[in-house]
Amino acid sequence: MATTPEISVAARAKYEPVIGLEVHVQLLTVTKIFCSCSARFGALPNTNVCPVCLGLPGALPVLNRKAVEFAVLAAMALHCRINQTSIFARKNYFYPDLPKGYQISQYDKPLAEFGAIDITSSGSQKKIGITRLHLEEDAGKSLHEGFPDSAEKTAIDLNRSGVPLIEIVSGPEIASPDEAYEYLTRMKEIILYTGVSDCNMEEGSLRCDANVSVRPRGQRQFGTKTEIKNVNSFRFIRDALEYEIVRQIAVLESGGKITQETRLYNSAEGKTYSMRSKEEAHDYRYFPEPDLLPLVVDEKSHAEIRHSLPELPEARRKRMVADYGITDYDAEVLTASKTLADEFELAAKAAKNPKRVANLVQSELMGRLKAKGLEIASSPISMKGVALSADLVESGAISGKMLKDLYDLCFERNQDFPTIYENARPQQITDPAAIEKIIDEIIATNPKQLEQYRAGKKTVIGFFVGQVMKASKGQANPQMVNELLAKKLEPNA
């Protein structure tokens, strides 16, 4: 078990953490950023490589238009200002999975700056600034273990070398591990909505490094920071930050000093470890990339890309609350992914009464999902199914009670609503004589409504339809009920 340094509650309260996050997101282009090799994950090692991404002498990079468009789209979604001209730079360091000896990145003139993400922190809204967003290429992959001679050798796969990335750097404005978690969750959600990345952490298409320091509450000056690398889930980042904050406070409280260093997180132990790297290893000697001209994103392409910007999760939630009269919580659940939100809205808009669809999701679907411990993405009842059920209730074809029973059956058998409804559909009454008999009874017992109808208030027919459906326990054919009622209600009938 991890032995977390002990600090008192008073010591913890004395300090405030300052956290900044650097997130790398892999862009979903077909080809790499500077060459036409495939950028897809999972090919046989060293088969998606060419002179450019192998760093062979004389090879020249040519920038992928889609990578630029995706980066600009992400920057817009994160409310960044796009720099019309940005400059590629060489970041120099030596590592075997970086064949050129430098990474093409952007330095003093990044693609975009001054963005922000809205987060909820302890119940209130907070804006976390984004300092910059820039384009760069990924390095290859080093495999240090898993081979018979791994004690002496490292294996290198350069398929990932040259895959397009955006790096998104937050301001030092994140005040707790929970805020860091929330920031990352919101960012991932926004990026997923734009469709520029799949944000798959297992495959490395979203990676995060965290800078963290602590300072006595009220002090303006930042404390010495450490950088945490090698964290592969949002939960682990929260845990690693929590550990690191406590560790730093314990060091300071015992009269020690924080060393500026890179630390690795070991998720099995829940601890961070110093990499004991020399600090000068971080002198990257950036200079402008002579092989690439400045990147210009002009007004025209700017406008074109903005056009493809989808409605973003936050705005969509607000609109859905207004449009469908659902709660904030349900809007949150329904917008968990763009696909789900699209499915819901498509189904709701196709239904006779969109609000009823929303209501059924809220009152009948959510509770059943929760009881079964299911995510909405794995719900047996699809959004189309909910919409169909809403229409059936709307037309009076089934009662609320029947709907509940049918939903229970869907969950029991793990089948979608249309299937269950077809099988369990109550025998429909299609005999005109039987329906007429019910209609006659209803008309006889409601003379006032009959009078209203005959006086010209035609909408009263809805009342009669409802009564007839109710009397037939929802089994009368709704279309026949409508036709027959219309005839029977006329004065000369």
């Binding site: 282009t29 077909v30 080809t31 060459c35 036409s36 090799c37 495939s38 046989l44 090692p45 060293n46 088969t47 998606n48 490589v49 060419c50 002179p51 192998l54 040519v62 920038l63 992928n64 238009r65 889609k66 990578a67 630029v68 001209t85 400059i87 590629f88 120099n92 360091y93 030596f94 590592y95 075997p96 080093s142 495999l143 240090h144 791994s150 004690a151 002496e152 050798k153 490292t154 294996a155 290198i156 796969d157 350069l158 990499m275 004991r276 790297s277 020399k278 000068e280 290893a281 002198d283 000697r285 200079f287 402008p288 990339e289 002579p290 690439l292 001209l293 400045p294 990147l295 210009v296």
Partner: protein, 102 residues
């Protein structure tokens, strides 16, 4: 601009090079002679000149963009050709001496 032996050690360190005392002296001499030569540029007053990274910078030229498609573009290298020049490879991976974090 003159650099010291300490600067030479620093740059060698960044490049993961181990230099002998003799080599450090030689590189100090060579590097300083190169820097002296480049220093001649300082004879010009460039305080009013915009820095440029490329020859075409001033013309406002922008990077040429390539379409994100496989068809009609240069293919990746065949696997064996890609590995052919490596000092060490196992038919699948490039192999390098064990990487140790510094």
């Amino acid at each position: 601009m003159k650099i010291s032996e300490k600067d030479v050690s620093y740059v060698a360190d960044l490049a993961h090079l181990e230099l002998t005392g003799e080599e450090r002296v030689r590189f100090l001499r060579d590097l300083n002679s190169i820097l002296d030569y480049v220093d001649r540029l300082n004879e010009l007053d460039t305080s009013q000149v915009q820095p440029m990274a490329q020859m075409t910078d001033l013309g406002g030229d922008a990077a040429t963009l390539r379409e994100d498609i496989h068809e009609g573009l240069r293919k990746s290298l065949p696997h064996d050709i890609a590995l052919a020049n490596a000092p060490d490879a196992d038919g699948t991976f490039f192999r390098v001496p064990k990487v140790i974090e510094r």
